[in-house]
């Protein structure tokens, strides 16, 4: 639909090898659970597919799907951040299930579609939810997607920016279609993540 996607080339390996990774907390190699929230159809999974495009995590042996994806980002300070991205179903009927997904998440991306005021309202609902029930030190990003459709814009950047500032989030407009700002979004989250103190 909205975004042209490249499909993963590598296939799912044996299910028998269930995740063989080292979970030791290493200050140079962070691992963070990131949850995606937003109305259905705003392009949540497009954003992630664009982010991991062509570089599906080879350590992910279990399944290939767009609902769960992981991607490692190398930062300039020579740390790496491995994002484990949890997508959620955006339809209203599934809203009550979201807490199961954002529990324990270190970061959240709340997505709306800049051509849809309803999706912006829904995004504000999710922000409130996260403030009430999410972990207090969660990094939150407000993302206006489909920025390439600016002719049909109905949510002003300024309004969204103001809202984000009032709620201690950072705000960015992206286009999963043209890949605009997609990497910037994840880099910004990575930079803001709390670093474990060396002891």
């Amino acid at each position: 639909m909205g975004c042209s996607s490249s499909l993963p080339a590598n296939n799912a390996g044996g299910v028998g090898t269930i995740n063989n990774e080292n979970s030791a907390s290493d200050p140079k190699n962070l691992r963070v659970k990131l949850v995606l929230l937003g109305d259905s159809g705003v392009g949540k999974s497009c954003i992630v597919l664009r982010f991991v495009r062509g570089q599906f995590d080879p350590t992910s042996k279990v399944t290939v799907g767009a609902s769960f994806l992981s991607q490692t980002l190398a930062l300039e300070d020579s740390t790496t951040v491995k994002f484990e991205i949890w997508d959620t179903a955006g339809q209203e009927r599934y809203a009550a299930l979201a807490p199961l997904y954002y529990r324990g998440a270190g970061a959240a991306i709340v997505v709306y579609d800049i051509t849809s005021p309803e999706s912006f309202n829904k995004a504000q609902y999710w922000v409130k939810e996260l403030q009430k029930h999410g972990s207090p030190d969660m990094i939150m990003a407000l993302v206006g997607n489909k920025a390439d459709l600016h002719d049909n814009r109905s949510v002003s950047s300024q309004d969204a920016q103001d809202y984000a500032e009032r709620n201690n989030m950072f705000f960015i407009e992206t286009s999963a279609k043209t890949a605009d700002n997609i990497n910037q979004l994840f880099e910004e989250i990575a930079k803001r993540l709390p670093r474990p103190t060396l002891s």
Binding site: N20, E21, G41, V48, A66, L100
Partner: protein, 385 residues
């Protein structure tokens, strides 16, 4: 000789047992024994006790250690959460003990992991009866969920859950259903989890195929979760609640992360959706939803009462109906024996509400009967007999 050469594809618990039988393992076993005694509750130890194949071998020192924790046994009430914590502590201590031990000094991470997988399977298979669906409440919840799914199966259709037409694929769905239904064929948390992962993989493959053959963006959770819920309803997997709880409590914590945790969470949320399902969550009026549930109960009743063949089964099925209604009529229809004059305004209101329900229910039941090709009047006559 010390470096194990077990095939990577196999979870070689026998390698682990083999090592444990060597005299060199005595000190390790000693520390394990201590941690087992400290961490496991007595009733779990009791379950572990009659295991002659416990890796003591003929080593008298180990045999002594093994016997000494049998001495500490006594009965205890099952408490799954507490047991889960203790078993997890035990697994963690075992991991440390194995990693630190000279016998595993040159073993790769994978080999150590295989030993631990073997240990988990061994321990949890032995403890299964004490830890799986161990409380009356769990048993009740399993039955409730299964009965509810049995009713939902009658009328929930893909569109109620927002599954787009393009993803309708009975063959793939059936495959996913079968994977999920395998869950009770296994006793170890890992193997149960694999059934869930396989089911999710079938769904993901479907999403992938559809996206490739239709040049459509690969679907995310907006499509995945609805399909998983639909599959769960179709599959009605046995003891869903207990299986999920068992995996959450007893799968090694270090393995319940990342992708595996994500897909497990999806099934947990499918269960939650089903437990809390109402009219609104299926985009229908609550009264319509209730009527559907009621007519599904009726439908189940007919089939439960023993219609082996639908063409000639009417007689037998109504026998069951008769008995049922005879027993509970007074409870279900409180105004049947009331005098009209003696009804209070509140009761009239209640009666009116009941009337509405009865009409809705009757309308739907008639419809259901027509669907079953049952002639309503004939059915009524046969009940009167």
């Amino acid at each position: 000789m010390e470096s194990p050469t077990s095939p990577a594809s196999r979870l070689d618990f026998y390698d682990f047992i083999g090592r444990m039988r060597r005299p060199a393992a005595a000190d390790l076993f000693h520390s394990i024994r201590r941690s087992i005694r400290l961490s496991l509750r007595p009733h779990l130890l009791l379950a572990l006790a009659p295991c002659p194949e416990w890796p003591c071998g003929s080593n008298s020192d180990l045999r002594f250690n093994y016997c000494s924790f049998l001495v500490s046994l006594s009965q205890g009430e099952p408490n799954a959460e507490e047991d889960g914590g203790r078993v997890q502590t035990f697994f963690a201590e075992m991991e440390t003990a194995i990693r630190d031990h000279p016998l595993w000094a040159r073993a790769t991470n994978q080999e150590i992991d295989h030993a631990l997988e073997g240990l988990e399977k061994y321990i949890m298979t032995k403890l299964f009866d004490k830890t799986f669906a161990s409380s009356a409440e769990d048993v009740r919840t399993d039955i409730e969920i299964s009965e509810k799914i049995g009713l939902l199966q009658h009328f929930v259709r893909p569109h109620h859950l927002d599954i787009p037409k393009i993803l309708h694929n009975e063959a793939a769905w059936l495959l996913a259903v079968k994977e999920l239904q395998k869950i009770n064929s296994f006793k170890s948390p890992r193997e149960k989890l694999i059934c869930i992962m396989s089911c999710c993989q079938v769904i993901n493959n479907l999403l992938l195929n559809v996206s490739m053959s239709n040049d459509r963006t690969l679907s995310g959770a907006d499509d995945f979760l609805p399909i998983l819920i639909y599959i769960t309803i179709k599959a009605n997997p046995p003891q869903l609640h207990s299986n999920l709880k068992f995996i959450q409590l007893f799968r090694r914590e270090t393995k319940l992360i990342s992708e595996v945790e994500y897909y497990l969470t999806n099934l947990i949320s499918a269960k939650m959706f089903i437990v809390n399902v109402n009219g609104r969550s299926l985009s229908m009026e609550e009264s319509v939803f209730q009527a559907h549930m009621e007519s599904a109960r009726f439908g189940n009743h007919i089939s439960v009462s023993g219609t082996s063949t639908s063409s000639q089964g009417l007689g037998t099925s109504t026998t069951g109906l008769n008995q049922e209604s005879g027993d509970t009529e007074g409870l279900r229809f409180p105004f049947m024996d009331s005098e009209t004059e003696s009804l209070t305004p509140a009761e009239v209101k209640q009666l009116h509400e009941l009337y509405r329900q009865v009409v809705t229910r009757y309308t739907l039941l008639s419809k259901a009967l027509r669907k079953l090709s049952v002639d309503e009047d004939q059915l009524l006559n046969s009940v009167d007999d």
